[in-house]
Symmetry: C2
Subunit: 328 residues, 2 copies
């Protein structure tokens, strides 16, 4: 009994799926569903390739009410740039949540992950940043630095943007790209303390293994989203900042405790007596978010299978009639 399975390549996905408010709403709904307690989301499957300096993660989740569930495979092979290949790759597979049959294979090379990750940053900004953000700052100069700022600008239309990176050339490139994309003033800032001091919204997007944002830099009316840490040992935010903030929020406590900013804080003996709220709890009103314009808030994003299942369903709806059909 042959069925047609839709195979969609990256170029087609880039043409059809955009980082827009529609995508941000889809990811927001995924976080709200997560906080309902009805989503099934197993721990991430992770495998290391020591010799090849690589790793692969598999994420998934079942969200009741959505027709399909995604299995998302994200390889990261960090020596690839030496041979002219990107470090991050992968694909998503969409299965029927009623029959388990394969519906579609999205050969996205990580594009959908990039989009759903940036959308999560926008959801965090929408629910936690001060109502008015005039200056935003980004630390890091890669793909996510660009996408996070584009996404954040959709929900907090700041008029000035600051970029900091260890490599001044990359920072200049990133700033130029963002200036073109957003049509606003974008400036490279050499000192990250200066960047934080001037910003109401800061996003950290690095693979750092040492804190790059000091607790001493916190100031009233600041929101920070840390989205770089997604593996044990990575950390961007000084653990003392998590305690000093008025509010610390996780995408998923169980993940952040082993691979997010929370991991380093727990290792330092901090935050141990706290059960942090999750982003979905803020969205649904089950937990209190920012209480005043002066609050300091921090959101710790590690990336969830719920986001993958949500964007895969969304994409499948947008793709009707496209892609290569393979009879299987």
């Amino acid at each position: 009994m042959a069925r047609d399975i839709r195979i969609v390549a990256e170029a087609e996905l880039r043409r059809v799926v955009k980082l827009d408010l529609g995508t941000i709403d889809v990811i927001e709904q995924a976080f709200a569903a997560l906080s309902s307690g009805k989503v099934v989301m197993p721990p991430i499957l992770s495998m290391e390739f020591v010799e090849a300096n690589g790793e692969v993660d598999v994420k998934t989740a079942y969200i009741p009410g959505l027709d399909g569930f995604a299995i998302k495979v994200s390889p990261g092979f960090f020596d690839n740039p030496k041979i002219g290949l990107p470090s991050l790759n992968g694909l998503m597979i969409l299965f029927s949540a009623k029959t388990g049959l394969v519906e579609a294979v999205f050969l996205d090379n990580g594009y959908l992950t990039d989009i759903r990750t940036a959308a999560a940053g926008a959801v965090a900004a929408r629910h936690l940043a001060p109502e008015t953000v005039t200056v935003a700052g980004v630390i890091g100069t890669g793909v996510q630095a660009r996408l996070q700022m584009q996404a954040a600008h959709l929900v907090r239309p700041f008029s000035r943007l600051l970029v900091h990176g260890r490599n001044p050339d990359k920072a200049a490139d990133c700033a130029a790209d963002l200036g073109r994309a957003l049509g606003i003033e974008v400036e490279v800032v050499a000192d990250p303390a200066d960047l934080v001091a001037q910003s109401q919204l800061v996003v950290t997007t690095t693979p750092s293994r040492l804190p790059i944002l000091s607790a001493q830099w916190l100031h009233p009316g600041l929101h920070i989203t840390a989205m770089g840490s997604d593996q044990a040992g990575k950390v961007e935010i000084d653990p003392a900042a998590l305690v000093a903030a008025d509010l610390y929020v996780c995408d998923r406590v169980s993940q952040c405790a082993v691979s997010g900013e929370l991991e380093a804080a727990l290792a330092a003996g901090l935050m141990t007596d706290l059960q942090p709220s999750e982003l979905g709890d803020i969205i649904t009103g089950q937990a209190l978010g920012r209480r005043s314009a002066a609050d300091v808030t921090i959101c710790d994003l590690t990336g969830t299978g719920a986001q993958d299942t949500a964007i895969a369903n969304h994409v499948n709806g947008l793709l009707e009639g496209t892609g290569t059909l393979v009879s299987a």
Copy 2:
């Protein structure tokens, strides 16, 4: 930078990949590699769909020396037959172990899993069954009952085969199919005790949640392979039989302890002071296998990601020039 990814449908895979001695050797090498200690094989990712009576498992492994690694997704949705669909489905994806790039997608609907599972049964028979098997028996009447006996016959060419199943019609169908496939005498046996008594090699292939093979039925010169249990709560062999046998062997101790026959034995307080050998240890000579024709041996198979990676690499080698190429 577009690359071609090979998409191969089930019909093509069935045409190219057979359950033969070549496949059995490939799976044997995977078990040998597992016992080297150099294979990386994370725990199985599992997710349940309570309302849909479904589950999905994701398995993977990295075997040094092989060019690729597989991610295998196996959904099982057990109400599917009510709407005319098979319960088991899924696909395998082959990635480069050097760059993490997707090489091929095998839309096999579980065919490759069927083959590598039956091949593991043959590996167990080759290394643990008595040298001479004249009568073999199979308990269960599904796809694996057929494939396990075809695989076992390649390594132990028995002349008589006994089939037992709860449903006499299905048992008769299975016996007829196997008679045609093997060209030997195949008989349905109503009493499983009788089947075991007459056989030197028995394979259990059921999804049972209560033991179906009693310890009292063990007799000198018997080998049993139990391949039905692959989830917590499933059990085919009376836990007392594991203790009574001269040798109990796992495919992977860490998996069998939570989802194989070993799980039920441990729950009964048995086998707790034992570190069982793995099938790979017997193959490589790191552990002792059958010591005499009179030994009673049991092999507990839950299915490993190493088998998936091994067969996916093997298949990719056989498929040169076939399938649909999608530029991604």
